[in-house]
Amino acid sequence: MHSLVTIIKKELADHFSSYRFTILFALIAMVSLITAYMVGLNIREELEGVAKPRFIFLMLFTSSGAIFSLVQFVAFFGPLVGLILGFDTINRERNEGTLSKLLSQPIYRDTVINGKFLAGVVMITVMMVSIVLVITALGLILLGIVPGVEELWRIFVYLMISIIYISFWLGIAILFSIFFRSTATSALAALAVWIFFSFFVSIGANILANALAPGADAANPEDLLWRAKIVKAFSLTSPMELYTDATATIIDPMRKSAHSVISLGPMERISMSRFSGPLPLSQSILIVAPYIISLIAITVVCFAISYIVFMRQEIRSL
């Protein structure tokens, strides 16, 4: 326990003093500031002369300003933060010869990898919390609206999911840093995985759906539903999709489903529009619980693989 704290402390000191982190943090702070500012201005314009909707505060995170909303931004570039924090975790120490020095101290081997992973999670937490606080503060200034208790809870849940999501990518990066000797190779491999899941899975899902359900008739709801199911099933292999779905109803209380296609009859449509109140937080969480759990599961699996590989590696090759 004591040695775990020592390693976490050392790793955090390394992170905070590295240029890499400073640059990354500056970039992210800048983007979030600009996004929040644009969104804030947009909302102010939109709301002129309109009755104040509920949960206006959460719109800071969901409505897209100039380019995209903060939620989309985290879904897309959050992984990059995890990768940058972790891609050289183990192999840098191996190349500098410090790994065997570390392991010849009276500590268990898993303390090293646990400490490094936890330090990364702390970094991610610090980063996400500060970004959300910046946006919250800007929201207070620009909109002059104080967030309600429920909104704060939603932001909190959103933060937790985001931290898990980015930690998953940190785990991927650590895994590659164990597999590959060279830091450049592990960085490239991690980037390749990120690009694959961020760009190609969504394109691939459509191609696959076209192949499996050719000539889907736009007038036939069953065909459409079948096609939509294929696309969904395939794109859920991407952690980005999982994350987007997991946060969908959390940060937007008006959404009642994570599905993209909902077939509605005329009567249902009427009743939907009559009861268009927001969902309570517990119900929102319930809807996306499978996604949240899957996200936690893949993070745990990814870390477990790194753990096993690292524990089984021969020191000779370290």
Binding site: E93, T98, Q105, P106, E314, I315
Partner: protein
């Protein structure tokens, strides 16, 4: 006089990819002695050290360090052994004091107690003046001395020194050798020294072991080896000549 053996291995074997790296090694090192661990590169010296540290599991055979089995109680063993590895790695963005502090904390020393140890260790290896410099700016000799300071922090009873004088200039080599000798004398430290510099080994080691292709081909005081190979009891042959003889025969 019957001396206690601090390191003892019996039929210790390690097989890598079907080939034995260490082959039925039986070794005994007594308390307070400097044991010269010789052999060509790739003979299995480092593998043996790693097994004794509990960092690598032996394929078969047993090892005992200070009465403990390294593969069963690696943490206890590692808290008692100081290991100065061949390509010593340091976090080059730290300074000597920070590095030693990190090592001290990993070994469970903190606060004033750690500070006192760090000061004493720096003083002993003569790095007090350079303690605030980044390790990146250290010369090879200074790095090796810093490595010895780490052993002092741990207060290790046993030290494994893997090529401690590799690539040092003659002055630094002498300084290092003297430091090792004085540590062994003052702290009753048992030293397992692996090196290629046979003259130095001859000068400071009480006993030597020669390892070739994973096997220990000879073990004992220099005079004994000399007698075995050349039939002359007195130390008329240098270690270098003895070593070459064994090497050619293997």
């Amino acid at each position: 006089m019957e001396t206690k053996s601090v390191i003892e291995t019996r039929e210790l074997t390690k097989i890598y990819n079907g080939r034995p790296a260490v082959d039925k090694l039986s070794l005994a090192v007594n308390e307070g002695e400097i044991f010269g661990f010789l052999g060509p590169n790739g003979a299995g010296k480092t593998t043996t050290l790693l097994m004794l540290l509990g960092l690598t599991q032996p394929t078969s055979g047993t090892a005992k360090v200070l009465g403990l089995d390294p593969s069963r109680e690696p943490i206890k063993v590692k808290s008692k052994i100081g290991y100065l590895q061949e390509n010593m790695g340091f976090y080059s963005d730290l300074n000597a004091r920070q590095m030693l502090r990190f090592i001290a904390e990993l070994n469970g020393f903190s606060g004033n107690h750690a500070d006192a140890r760090i000061d004493a260790a720096l003083e002993r290896v003569g790095l007090t003046d350079e303690a605030a410099k980044n390790i990146a700016a250290y010369s090879r000799g200074m790095r090796q001395r810093l490595g010895l300071a780490e052993l002092l922090i741990k207060d290790s009873k046993v030290a494994f020194l893997d090529e401690p004088t590799l690539g040092l200039d003659p002055d630094a080599t002498n300084r290092m050798i003297e430091l090792i000798q004085s540590l062994c004398r003052d702290k009753q430290m048992t030293v397992l020294l692996s090196s290629h510099l046979l003259q130095q080994v001859q000068k400071i080691c009480h006993r030597v072991g020669i390892m070739i292709k994973g096997r220990m081909v000879a073990q004992g005081p220099l005079a004994q080896l000399s007698e075995e190979k050349f039939g002359v009891g007195k130390e008329t042959y240098s270690l270098e000549e003895i070593y070459m003889k064994y090497f050619q025969e293997a």
